[in-house]
Symmetry: C2
Subunit: 530 residues, 2 copies
C-alpha cells in the first residue's frame, strides 16, 4: 500500500485532510484485557479474523515480518548445529496413527479428517497433521541404519491443524498455526538431553533477545508434559495485565518411546549385534510468540514493537509547516530529511519517511504509534535552525533531541536502549509477580492479585488435579471476550524452574497442597494460564 | 548425518571397507526415462515416496536446499517490488466457493474435503486450498478501500493440495506441493499487465540463472489459460530425453473477473463517484522447478546440480594414500587440504572435505557424483609434489589441474563456467528440437523424433482439441512407470511465444491443422508435454 499521491503544488498544509479510516483502540488494556487484545491485533493490522471458518486467522504483513525475523534468527542457529531442513506431507493416514496410541490419544479429539476427494469418498480417511511424529518416524526407521547416521536431525517450517473446541484467540490458540518442528535422533540419552536444552536456550533467546520478553526456563510436570514423551522442557512467560502464565515454547525429550513404537534402531557401536533404540527429541516454536509479545508490550495507543523485530524502527515525520512556510524552506527541509533517512539506513536502521500530504503531523503521530514503530523522529524548521532532530520513544513516550550530526551514531544506540528497557520493564513485572510461597493460605489471594506462585510440590498428577480444583475462585477479575466477567480458573503447574529457590529440604519439606501430605520434590511454578 | 567416526590410528587404507548402502542408478536415462527419473530422485535423496498415502512425497534436505535458494532469490526481488508477505488459512469454506463458479469448476474434482473434526461431523465441510483466490479475495474487498491502496500486493509461501486422479510424479505432479502464490490488485489494465510480465521474467530467471534451464516465454492459448483468468503468461521448458515440453511457471492476468465476483472496487481517482473494479494478477512458482532441473541435467551416474543451487559446490577428496604412506605425509596432506578448503570458503565456495576413513577414493568419487556435486577436487602426495590440485567436472567429466596458489581465484570462475556450460548445452538441445513447421505432414514425425513444434495456429479451443486427438501416435517411444511401452500422447499447445518467428502473414496464413481452414493468428508452440 503506497502513500497517497502527492497533492498539487502549493496546496496549504492542514487543508483537504484525509479522514482516518480506523479509529484508535477503543478499550483500555487495564479495563477489558481480552477485548483490548482483540482490537490491537486487528486494528494494528497483525491479523484479520477469517470469518468463513471460525478459529482461523489471516496473518498480515506486519506479523509475517516478526515471524520471518524469528525464523531467520532461529534457522541460522540450528543450521550451525547441523540440523537440516525437510518437508513432509501434511496428511497422516489412520494406519500410522494406530502405531502410537498414547501420543495419538492426546490429539485425537482435534484431528481434522479428509474423507472425500472431489465427489469420491477416500478409501482410507486421512487427517491433517496436528504435529508430525507419526508422519515422520516411519521414515526415520528407514533412514537411520547405523550409529554413523547419528545424530540425525531434521526440522520443518509448516502449519499444523488442531481443531480446538475451546475458545480460540489470535496467535495464542488457533485451529491452524505456523511453527517449526524439529525431530532428532541420538545415540544416547545424554546426547539427546544436551540438545533438548540447547534448543530450549534458543527458544528463550527468541523471547528475550528478539521480543524483549523474559521467560522462566524449566521442566514440565508429568501432568503437563508432551503426550507420549519422556520429559518436556519449557520456557514460560507472564502476562502482567491478567497475572496469568503463558507457555512460551517446548523442547521435548521423547526418550525411546517412539523409537520402540516405530522400531528405530542402530547397532551398538560398542557391542556388536546388540541393537539400541535411538533417543529422540522433538521441539517446536509457533506464532504464539507474537501474541505473547503483543500482550506484554502493547498499550492503549496500540502496538509497541521491540526494535529488533519491527519492520520500521524509525519513522521520520516533517513538522512545523504552515501556510506561511516558503517553498525554499519546504524544499530544504525535504532535502535534509532525505539525508537524515539516508544516514540512518547506512547505519542499518530500518527507516520510513512519512511524506503523506493532506495529513496533519498529529494524525501521523497517532497512526505510527498505533502501528508500534519504536522511535519517531520529528523534523521541522525549528529543529533545522537548531541542527537537531526531536525524537519520541514509543515505549515510554519520552522525548528529546539529538544533534543532526550524531543521528547516525546515536539512533542505533537508542534503539538498543529501547529494546533493553522494554525487556527490563517486563522482567521487573514478572519478577515482582512471581511469589515464592510457603503458606497455602496465601496462594489464592496471590493469584487474585495477578501473581504466579512458586511452591513446594510433590509432583503427583492427582495432587495437581486437586490443586486446579481447589484454587478456582469466585472473584471475578477479568472480562471475557463477550464482555462479561468470568470466574477465575484454577491454577495449573507452569514448570519446575531449573533455577530453584533455596529452602526446600528433601525428605522434610512437604507439598504445599494441604490435602496432600506427601513430601515436596521441588519448587514448582503454578499459575492461572493461557 | 555425520561421517563415520575415525578409525584407529595407522589402519591401512583399503582395509575394513564400508559396503555402500545404495548402489548406483540401475536404469539408463536413454532407455527408460521415467524409471531412471524415479531412481535418481530417490537414490540421490531428493525425495522419499510417502507410502502411507499415494501421490505424496517427502522433500529431503538436498531438495529443500535448492528450493530455499530459489525462495531467497525470488523473495528478495519481489520485496524490492513492494510485495508484502501474508499467510492465509489452508481451508476454504464451501460458501466462498460458490461465488466464483468458473474458477472453481476447474479445481472441483481435485478438492480434498475435511468433513469431520475429532469424531464430530463439521456443519459445513471445508476444502484444503488448491490455490487461494477464493480464500483471499473476500479480504481484498475489505482491505482495498481507495485507489491510494493500490497497487496492493501480497505473496505467501505455502503448500496446496490437488487430489490428482492422474499418475503422480515427484515434483512434477504431486497431490500436495509447495509454491509461492502472489496475488495483486492494480488500478489499470496496463499497470497489472506490466507486473504480470515482470514476474514472468523473474520466473524465467529462476530457471535460466539458477537452474541453468532455458525456457520460452509466451502466453497460453484460451484452452490452456488459468480457469477464470483473463490471460496467462508462462515460461515453458523442454525435456530432451523425451522430447516433451513442460510448463515452467505461470503468471496470470486475472483481469476484472474476480474483482467483479468479489466486489473489489475503488473510486475512480479521475471521476468522482465512479467505481472501478480493480485489475488483478496471480502468479505461482512451485517445487516443480526441481523436477525440471533433474530431468534435464542429470545422467546415468545420478544427479548433476548447477553450482548456484548446490549445497556443496566442491568436494575435496584425499587420494593416493597407501599402506606405505608415512604419517608425516598423511599429516601434511591433511593440513594442506584444510588450507585448501579454507581458501575456497573464503572465496565464497561452498566446500566439503570427505575425510571418511574406510572408504576408497573410488567409492567416494561415485558417491559424490551420484549426489551431483559440481566439482570434485582430488589431492594426493603427487599433487602436493607438483603444487597442484586435480579437478573433475561433474557435468562433463572433464579433468585438469589447478596450481595450488590459484585455487581460490580459479575455482569460482570454473564453477561459473560449469553453470554457463550446463545452460548452453540445455539451450542447444531445446533450440535444435524446437522446429518451426509449415507442413502438417511433418508434425507427427517431428514429435516422434522428440521435438516440439512451432506452427501457425488459429487459436480456437475446438481446433486445439482436434489437434490433440489427431496427433496421437501408435508409435511406442517411451516406457511408462510400469516398465511397459506407452502409446504417444497427442500434442497440446505449450504457449504463444512472445518471440514470434517471421513468415506468418495476418489475413493470409492459414492454421496448420488441415481440418481447420481458419486463418492463423500467431505461431504457437505445441508439443507432447508433462
Amino acid at each position: 500500500m503506497g502513500p497517497p499521491p502527492a497533492q498539487a503544488n502549493g496546496k496549504q498544509a492542514g487543508k483537504n485532510l484525509v479522514v482516518p479510516l480506523s479509529n484508535g483502540i477503543s478499550v483500555k488494556k487495564e479495563e477489558s484485557f481480552s477485548q483490548w487484545y482483540q482490537e490491537v491485533v486487528t486494528k494494528c493490522e497483525l491479523v484479520e479474523y477469517y470469518t468463513e471458518i471460525s478459529g482461523f486467522y489471516i496473518l498480515r504483513p506486519s506479523s509475517m515480518y516478526v515471524w520471518n525475523t524469528i525464523r531467520a534468527w532461529f534457522q541460522s542457529r540450528i543450521e550451525q548445529m547441523g540440523v537440516e531442513e525437510t518437508s513432509f506431507p501434511m496428511f497422516l493416514s489412520s494406519k500410522s496413527l494406530e502405531k502410537e496410541k498414547e501420543h495419538v490419544e492426546g490429539f485425537a479429539p482435534e484431528l481434522a479428517w479428509v474423507t472425500k476427494a472431489g465427489d469420491k469418498d477416500l478409501e482410507v480417511p486421512v487427517a491433517v497433521r496436528p504435529t508430525s511424529e507419526a508422519v515422520m518416524y516411519p521414515y526415520y526407521a528407514k533412514w537411520i541404519r547405523s550409529h554413523r547416521d547419528l545424530p540425525f536431525r531434521l526440522n520443518q517450517w509448516n502449519s499444523v491443524v488442531r481443531w480446538e473446541a475451546k475458545q480460540t484467540t489470535p496467535f495464542l490458540r488457533a485451529r491452524e498455526f505456523m511453527w517449526q518442528e524439529g525431530h532428532t535422533a541420538h545415540l544416547t540419552e545424554q546426547l539427546a538431553e544436551k540438545e533438548v536444552l540447547e534448543i530450549l536456550e534458543l527458544y528463550a533467546g527468541v523471547y528475550e533477545q528478539l521480543l524483549a520478553v523474559p521467560v522462566v526456563r524449566g521442566r514440565k510436570t508429568e501432568n503437563e508434559k508432551f503426550a507420549g514423551g519422556y520429559w518436556t522442557s519449557t520456557c514460560e512467560g507472564f502476562i502482567p495485565s491478567t497475572g496469568r502464565g503463558i507457555q512460551g515454547a517446548t523442547s521435548h525429550a521423547l526418550g525411546q518411546n517412539f523409537s520402540k513404537m516405530f522400531d528405530i534402531t542402530v547397532e551398538d557401536p560398542n557391542q556388536k549385534g546388540e541393537k539400541i533404540f535411538v533417543w529422540q527429541n522433538s521441539w517446536g516454536l509457533s506464532t504464539r510468540v507474537i501474541g505473547v509479545m503483543v500482550m506484554i508490550h502493547s498499550d492503549n495507543k496500540g502496538l509497541v514493537l521491540p526494535p529488533r523485530v519491527s519492520k520500521f524502527q524509525v519513522v521520520i515525520i516533517p513538522v512545523g509547516l504552515t501556510a506561511k512556510t516558503t517553498t525554499e524552506v519546504r524544499e530544504n527541509l525535504a532535502k535534509q530529511i532525505q539525508d537524515l533517512a539516508g544516514s540512518l539506513k547506512e547505519n542499518g536502521v530500518r527507516t520510513e519517511v512519512d511524506n503523506r500530504e493532506g495529513y496533519t503531523p498529529g494524525f501521523k503521530f497517532a497512526d505510527w504509534e498505533m502501528k508500534g514503530v519504536p522511535l519517531r523522529l520529528e523534523f521541522g524548521p525549528k529543529d533545522a535552525a537548531n541542527s537537531v532532530v526531536t525524537y519520541s520513544r514509543r515505549d515510554t513516550g519520552l522525548k528529546g533531541t539529538i544533534p543532526l550530526a550524531e543521528v547516525g551514531s546515536q539512533v542505533p544506540v537508542l534503539l538498543e536502549k529501547i529494546q533493553q528497557d522494554m525487556y527490563d520493564k517486563a522482567n521487573e513485572e514478572f519478577t515482582s509477580h512471581r511469589l515464592t510461597l510457603t503458606d497455602w493460605a496465601e496462594v489464592v489471594p496471590a493469584l487474585n492479585n495477578r501473581n504466579v506462585v512458586v511452591i513446594p510440590f510433590c509432583g503427583e498428577p492427582s495432587c495437581e488435579e486437586r490443586i486446579k480444583e481447589t484454587t478456582k475462585s469466585d472473584e471475578h477479575r477479568e472480562l471475557g471476550p463477550d464482555g462479561k466477567p468470568q470466574p477465575s480458573m484454577g491454577m495449573k503447574s507452569l514448570c519446575i524452574p531449573f533455577d530453584q529457590p533455596s529452602g526446600l529440604v528433601q525428605g522434610e519439606t512437604k507439598c504445599l497442597n494441604p490435602e496432600c501430605g506427601s513430601l515436596a520434590k521441588s519448587w514448582v511454578m503454578f499459575g492461572r494460564s493461557y
